[in-house]
Structures are given as C-alpha cells and as structure tokens.
Symmetry: C2
Subunit: 449 residues, 2 copies
C-alpha cells in the first residue's frame, strides 16, 4: 500500500472539496452567463500544445515555468511527438495559435471566452494564492487589423456585471491607457529607451508608496520636482471626467486620451454605474505586451486581495505565428486564487457539500417504492434531491443530512405514509410541518437554498 | 516565426471550434443538471497526481499510457517533487485517493460527479474516436463497507434522464451482473481460474458473433453443446421480467440474481420507461475491476457508435490506498468521443458559432449610444446579444451576422431611430418586421434559438 503522506494531492495542485467545488461552480455559472450574454462564444483548445508554440510566446519568467509532457513508461509505443508536448500556461497563447491557423475562415471581430485550468511550474505559496494549477476565466475580442476602443469599454462592463451579480461587496474597475502614461512620461522627460523601466516603477507605486516611486523615477534621470509632480498627477483623487479634462489640458489630442474618453463615455451606455469604475493613471500593468487600455479591479473593502480581474489592449496577438496584425483586448479572472481568498475572508460561503436542498429519508424500508417515487416526482418537477438508499435508522439518516449540509429533510413514517403526507423538516431551525405530497414540489421550489 | 505546420494542435489533442464548444456546452449543461438533480455534488481534483498514486491503480494497458509532467527548463528552480508528477488518466483514481485521505470527515454514502479532461498516451485514431485528451463525465456513489444495489438502479435512471433530455433518439441501457455471469459460467463447467478469460470472450460476443464465441468457450474446455446453449442463453431475446424468471429457474437464489431483480424493480420507481433498458446477459465489461452490476448504453439507431455510457459496481475503490472497504458504483460518459460522433452523424448540430440569438447592428455611427443602450437593455432583460462595434457598412455587418450563424439581426437606420423602432430580421428566412424597442426583449425571449 502507498505511504499515507503520498496520498495528498501534490503541493500547489489543489483538491476542491464538494463545498468548495459548489461555490466555484456558482461563480463560474455567473461568469459564463455574463460572457455569453454579451455574445462571447466558448472556444476550447486542449491543455497541451507544442513546446515551440508556447516557447515563442512565453516571455520572461513564464518561460522557466512551462511543464512538458512525457510518457512515463520508457517502453511505451510513442506517438512520435512526445518530446514536443507541453502544457498551456494561459489561455492567450492557445488563442493566438488557433487564430493563426483559422483566421481565414473566422468572422472578425472574433469574440471568445475560455474557462479552464492552466499550469505553471512555480513554487506554490498558499498564503499568497500561488498554485501550480489554477482556473482562469478569460474573454478576448480580436480584430482583423483594427479594433474599436468601444470593445475596451464593453470588457469593463462585463466585469462590472459579473461582480455585481456575484454580490461580494462594492468594487472599482481602475482603467488607464498605456499611451497616456507614455505621453505623461515623455512630457516628464523620459526618453523612449527608459519608458519600459518607468512603467515598471509606476506599476509598483501602490506597493512602495509615492516617495519611493518619485525617488526611483529620479534615478532614471527625471528631475526631483518633475518626478514629484508626475507622481502627484498619477495619484490625484479626481473624478473620471476631471481626469479627462486634466489630460486634455496637459497632453492635448494625444490618441490615448481620445481612446480613454471613448471608453469612459461608452461605459455609461453599457449601463455601468459610476461607482464601479474610475480612471487611475497609476495603473501600468507589468507586461510590455499591453499597448493601450489597461484594467485592474479591486474590492473596495478588501484591497489586500489585489486585482480580481485584470487585462488590457494589445497591438498584435499572433505576431509570433503569422504576419497579419490581430489587435485585441481581453480581461482575465484568476478564479482559483480569488475564490479561495473570498472563502477565506468569509465573503463567499462554502458551508454545504449538498448541491440539492433536500434529502428524502427512507424510514419504513417496506415502503421503499413510496420514497423512490417521491424523489422521482421532485426531480421531474425540477427540485434536486438525494434519496437515502441505505438501510439505516431514521436518526442516522438525519445525522447524515445534517453532516452533509442539507437544508431540508423529508420524512414519512407509517402515519404519514398511510395519510399520503410528508414531514418537511428545516434542519437549520429544527422546525417541521406536514404537507401533502402534491404540495412538496411547489413548496421546495419556493424555498431558498 | 514558427513554421505553419506546427501551428495545429498536436495530434489527438483537439481544438473544439466555437460551434463545437457550444454543442458540447449544451450537452454538459444537461449532464450536470441531471447529476445535481439526483443530489450528486461536484468534487474537483487536480489534473496532476503523484506518479505512485496513478501507478498503483493503473492496471494493464493504462499503465503504459500515463503522462508525466516535467519542467522543460533544466535551469528552472524545481519545487522538488517534479519527478513525481503525472497526469490523471481517469476520474476514478483521483476519487479513490481523495477518499483515502478524507474518509473520516466525509458522510457516506459519498456521491460525487466529475466532469473534465483526462489524458492517455495512446496512438490517436480520429475515425475510432480515440484521442489523447478527452472529457469524461463521471458519477459514482461510494459506501462505507456496504452499499445498497438501489444505487445501481439510480445510476441507470440518471443516464436515462440525461439521454432523454439530450433527445438524440431512442436508446437502451443494457444491464447485467457479473455475479450472474460468473454463476452461469460456473454452471457451464468453467473453473474459477478460467472465469476472467471466459468473461473476456463474452465481452467480444457482439463483435465476433455467436459461433466464434461458442468456439472460443470450447477452447477453454467447455463441451460444444454446453457452449452453444450458454451463448443461446446469453443472447436470447427476452423481456427483463422473463430473463429474471429464467435466471431464478436456472440459478436459484444466487445473490447476483437478487441484485439484478432489485435493480430492475427500482428502475420503475425511478420512473425509467421500460423501453430505455433491458437485462442483457452478454454484457461483461472487460475490466476485472467490476464485481456486480454492469451497464452499457447504445443508441438504438446507431449501434456503430458503441456504448455511450458505461460503468458498473466495484467491490473496493481504494484498496490500493487504505484498508477500509469502500464499495461503489459508477457510470462514465466519454463526452468528447460521443459528441464528435454525434456531430459527425448529424444527430447533434454544430451549425452556429453564435452563442447569442441576435446581433445588434450599428448602421448610424452618430447614434452609437442608441445601439449600445439597446444591447444593454436586452442583456439586462436576459437576452444575450452581441453589438457590432466596428465602423463598417450595414451590409458588411449583416454578412458578419450571417457568417457567424446569428439567427436574428436588429437594425435601426435613421427612419427607425427617429421613430424609436427596430427592424428584427430573421437571417434564415430573410423575413423582417418593425417593433418598438420596448417589445424587443419579450419578442426575443420567446423566439427559439
């Protein structure tokens, strides 16, 4: 037999218990419904890609985190390509590869969502929410040569809809535009060769504070006073309208400012409440990949959770694969990290491993048919239920219902069976009442779970 | 740039196009809803397990098909366990491992479903539906020491509900019991040492025919006349009731016969129409793993598709991991193979890559707000829609709608905008009519997609 300590899942590869998996499933149902409501279709690429495909797009740190796939049995008949197989580390690279081969037959703009696991060979850190396998939920729109900034607004609107429905407290989508940031940096005297470094400095602003950020910018050659003013401007508390006014005054008709205005105006048409977003000029996003709009999303009461949905606009998705410019914009939700942190913070409950509201108990073994038929009727009426099928005493069955987290139990002993009635017991309050079989489905449909 | 021929997904690792992914998603929604309606909760184990865990349970051929996971970059900082990681080849082994470590805290019977990808290093064969990655949808119930055969009936009822709702034509769940088959073999003179071989011969009966099966049984030492009679008995066309009568006459109160009777009787209570199942004594299932009830499911009009849902009862799920007997029963649907074959056979349509019913076109660029607001209203009313955001002529937008497979397009030119009305065009029939904005949501909710 295998030693006990080997029977856990490997570190960074999580088991989601039924209660956690139910909570995740509720969240992903919202995500998927909102993606689809906005006309995003699923695209399902495999977990496995050719190593060359992943390596061509995996920039920086990621390139050291790619898992290859190898048949374990050295005598196994190989397919021939076993040395080329590797596991995806995100949903964007497979999208780029798919579009590179299918761009001719697809209608553009191409809108797709992808929800599923990705793998990264990082050192796991449970408290930081860093896992080796995690679920990402992505939406992207890809244009053929060009793509209206209206899409950038719609992305933010979808994120707003998702977190409004998920109901975990107020949140703010912070929106910026990297062209705007570049123009501000240029105006502050940063030459093109230092823009990337300056962006990385600004990306850490929230973490290290204003003073340190100004110092770091100085070290890049920016005069102290200019650096201080820039950091002031990036962190000024202004309404989105005032920020746009400031930018128009300061930068004139810089294209990034126009894009930002289009995005902010369209957000109103997409029905996003003002409180759910603001322009935040300090949002830079680390990756050089992004070229225009960038987003981060914070829970207002839980800034410690970090960004719960991030993304942005990129110039050319598939330049590593084809020479046809495919600009796009996308947002990604790191589902596993978000969900487990929300459960940890008590903002999401994972308090029941019962996916159905009710357990049909089977007190009188001689009348099994009665119980099975009731369960069948409830299911046919759309009420999920489990029927207890083992031959155990009623109190054991109720104990089971309680442990598993059922809200209700249905009970019929001889007296009820003879009378065609059922006892509906609320396992939280202990209250119970008798109902006719014909009323149960309606009653249980009305009850909240 | 990467050579073009490397930009396809690796052989046996499929891209599902949006149209295929939509079809799969519709099927999996049915599967999940039916699993949950019967009180099965999700359990989500990772894609990756320790090699020792998989190797302990991977019997026979499977053991040569296990993929290991290796960091590609030799200089990458390893977590330390990289040489132990392997990818799951089914959902049963992870379930066994999970139960081995959590059995003390879980309420039994433990019911769970798992829907997700598994990987096997086989030689892919598209025409046979053999892939290296495929989605499996599994349900299992695990008992603590014992488990009522009523669960075996419920499994079949769930499969019946799924394929009834999926509506791909009539089907038959063929049910047998390996104890019954063993008893019939024993009565025909097969010693215990040859039962497994005889089972494998019977497992091929449908493929090789009666004559060849009788010959193969003879080769095992069965007298010709006995072999012929046994094959006759296994393939006789009888109702389930008559088969039970035959078995009771022939085998007396053999435990397998009692189990089979309990299963068949409970199927009625679970509301399964008689036409959806029958006892088929020739169903053996190859794996020695199964010890009682076994199932296969065929589409009546498409026997060539093979079994679309199979499974059975096993004595002890986790004997490789803990010494606590955990008997169970489960059924698995090979989703990828089934779905692609149904699409290939025209039984399932994958004819639209639009997940929403309607495209909101944007004919008058100056009135963008009007279009965005209509799309927002429709979405808020629960009607999924895409709004066309690029600055293109209306005919190009309608061409896009058509190519993507939208059923409807909403059009407003100046005349309609001024009048607050919309043209709803049916893109299949070409018919169109004008509606007030306030009527659109109700109208589109009523339309079938």
């Amino acid at each position: 037999m295998i030693p006990k300590q080997l029977l856990t899942s490997p570190s960074g590869f999580l088991d989601l218990s039924p209660a956690e998996a139910i909570a995740q499933s509720k969240f992903l149902d919202i995500v998927r419904r909102r993606f689809e409501r906005a006309g995003f279709s699923p695209l399902e690429t495999p977990l496995v890609e050719r190593e060359a495909v992943l390596a061509a797009k995996g920039e920086g740190e990621i390139s050291t985190q790619i898992y290859g796939l190898r048949l374990l049995n050295p005598d196994a008949e190989a397919v021939g390509d076993e040395k080329e197989l590797a596991v995806r580390f995100d949903h964007t690279v497979p999208l780029a590869r798919y579009l590179a081969t299918h761009s001719r037959e697809l209608p553009f703009p191409f809108r797709r969502y992808a929800i599923g696991p990705v793998l990264r060979g990082e050192k796991p850190n449970m408290s930081k929410g860093r896992y080796r396998q995690f679920t990402q939920a992505d939406i992207d729109v890809i244009g053929d040569g060009a793509l209206s900034p209206l899409h950038d607004a719609e992305m933010a609107a979808i994120i707003s809809d998702i977190f409004t429905e998920f109901n975990i407290g107020s949140f703010t989508i912070r929106i910026n535009n990297r062209k705007v940031l570049s123009a501000l940096l240029a105006k502050a005297g940063i030459g093109e060769e230092s823009v990337a470094s300056a962006m990385r400095i600004i990306d850490r602003l929230e973490k290290v504070g204003r003073g340190k950020t100004a110092e770091d910018l100085e070290a890049l050659g920016m005069p102290a006073e200019v650096a201080r003013e820039l950091v002031e401007a990036l962190t000024a508390e202004r309404s989105s309208a005032d920020t746009l006014k400031y930018l128009e005054g300061h930068l004139g008709d810089e294209p990034g400012v126009t894009e930002l205005r289009i995005v902010i105006e369209a957000l109103k048409d997409f029905g996003v409440p003002d409180a759910n977003y603001r322009i935040d000029l300090s949002i830079a996003r680390g990756l050089e990949y992004y070229t225009g709009t960038v987003y981060e999303t914070r829970l207002d009461a839980h800034p410690d959770l970090g960004s719960i949905a991030s993304g942005g606009r990129y110039e050319d998705l598939a330049s590593a694969y084809i020479d046809r410019p495919l600009p796009g914009v996308g947002i990604s939700i790191g589902v596993t990290r978000l969900l487990l942190r929300l459960i940890g913070a008590g903002l999401v409950l994972a308090d029941t491993s019962a996916v159905a509201p009710v357990l049909v108990t089977t007190a009188e073994r001689a009348y099994l048919s009665t119980y099975l038929r009731l369960a069948t009727e409830l299911r046919q009426a759309g009420v999920p239920c489990e029927v207890y099928l083992e031959d155990k005493a009623l109190d054991k069955q109720l104990h089971f219902a309680d442990r598993k987290g059922y809200r209700y139990a249905l009970i019929a002993q001889m007296e009820q069976i003879v009378g065609g009635r059922w006892i509906l017991r609320d396992l939280r309050s202990g209250e119970q009442r008798e109902l006719a079989a014909s009323d149960l489905a309606a009653e249980l449909s009305n009850e909240s779970r």
